[in-house]
């Protein structure tokens, strides 16, 4: 292995033993990091180093390591998933950083995402929002309808598809100065509201999901647009406007 063009970096990492611990930033040095390695590989190297020193490795969430699962939540140098656009942390590469740089690595910060350990946060608030209405109640056992039997305008299908690419990572919440979950919830609301199968329950769905979102303690939307910029899937603010319309019209038209 060549030692000439590896990066020497100072890492400031959030360490917190458990949900009760107060936690603090710790400083580590890593050296000779290949510019071809991914950010998570760099974290693996750091952890190996810590284990060799007999220390507790840094806990962080990861699974697919290819931008699909949404678990690799890290707030890097003041941005969700670091400086890149439309990527997750696992898709971020060390060539984005300079030799000698100091890198801040923190967990998502939101009251509704409590820290479990180090960089791992509890995102089950998203699951509870989904459980409150993020589905379509159709019977799929045995007699599934042919998808082509339901006409859907191409433009709507495209918008629904774009909304459905949300991976539930929570970068929108982490980036928002208000820790608002509007981008996530609006993507989920839109993905169904745009399609005939989802329209049936649209009013009830948006009311339940928004009410669950508010109960979880996420903030309000100030339309700063930070979420849209930091979202690894490029989910658009169009969805938030659509959710506002859906919610306001459900307020006047729905049973509750």
């Amino acid at each position: 292995m060549s030692t000439t063009n590896g990066l020497n970096l100072t890492l400031k990492v959030w360490r917190q033993k458990n949900d009760k611990d107060k936690g603090q930033m710790e400083t580590y040095q890593v050296s000779d990091i290949s510019t071809d390695s991914s950010f998570l590989e760099m974290m693996d190297i750091l952890n190996e180093q810590l284990i060799n020193e007999g220390k507790d490795p840094v806990a962080f969430d990861h699974d697919c390591r290819e931008g699909i699962c949404g678990s690799c939540s890290m707030y890097i140098n003041g941005e969700a998933h670091g400086p890149g656009r439309e990527i997750t942390t696992c898709q971020l590469h060390m060539r984005e950083f300079k030799n000698g740089e100091t890198i801040y690595i923190e967990p998502w910060r939101a009251k509704a995402f409590p820290v479990i350990k180090d960089l791992v946060v509890d995102r089950s608030s998203f699951d509870r929002i989904m459980a409150s209405g993020g589905f379509v109640s159709v019977n799929t056992s045995g007699n599934t309808q042919d998808a082509n039997a339901i006409p859907i305008p191409k433009a709507d299908a495209d918008k629904a598809f774009d909304a459905a690419t949300c991976i539930g990572c929570g970068a929108c919440v982490a980036s928002c100065k208000n820790s608002s979950a509007m981008l996530f919830v609006s993507a989920k609301v839109s993905q169904f509201a745009l399609l005939p199968q989802g329209k049936v329950e649209a009013a009830e769905r948006v009311q339940n999901m928004v009410s669950q979102m508010d109960d979880e303690g996420f903030g309000n939307c100030s339309n700063t647009g930070a979420c849209e910029v930091e979202c690894p899937k490029g989910i658009s603010l169009d969805n938030i406007a659509r959710m506002n319309r859906e919610y306001l019209s459900a307020s006047v038209s729905a049973d509750k």
């Binding site: 140098n77 208000n178 608002s180 903030g219 309000n220 930070a226 603010l237 169009d238 406007a241 307020s251």
Partner: protein, 228 residues
Amino acid sequence: MSWVKQTFSSSIGRKFAMALSALFLLLFLLQHFAINLLSVFSADLFNEVSHFMGTNPLVQFALQPVLIFGVVFHFVMGFVLEIKNRNAREVKYAMNNGAANSTWFSRNMIWSGLVILGFIGLHFYDFWIPEINVKYIQGDMSGMINGEYRYYEELVHKFHDPIRVGLYVLSFVFLAMHLKHGFQSAFQSAGARHEKYTPGIKKLGGLYAIAIPAGFIFIALYHHLTAI
């Protein structure tokens, strides 16, 4: 819970109410600007319109209370949202790069708003309280002083003081910042967003946010400089 209460205590409902009060304030500001602008062209016309606005019962007892409610609602709701939003993040980031993804104006509506609130305080002290005093406490509804309308004179008199003119100018700069983000934000909060017209709304908002505050600054400076 009634459906109205349920709607307006939700995050989306609150923002909708915020947007409605803001759109109302935007219309009011346009109207206020139009009348002030008259003072540059014709003292007589300005006097007459001011007298009409100051004494017409519809304006005084129907529109004025709506305006006061609109302003108070807007800043009280602004504080409520700010507090809720701050509470949604208990531990702050050690390193946060807000500039990477959003404008300073959009992240600091509360600060530009607070400067505007301070300005409204000063403005009430300067014009509104003396007006109420003359009209409803002393009971003089004539709008006259020594047989002439007093409004234009009072306006020019207020803009003598360079410190006051400076404060007015500074406040309008903050108003411009507030509106640069706020104008288009109000439409987004109300769900009015479409590729057909959103670019137009953003352009109009940019124009409004610059032209109206700049116009107010011009009027203040005009009276300050011409009166010397």
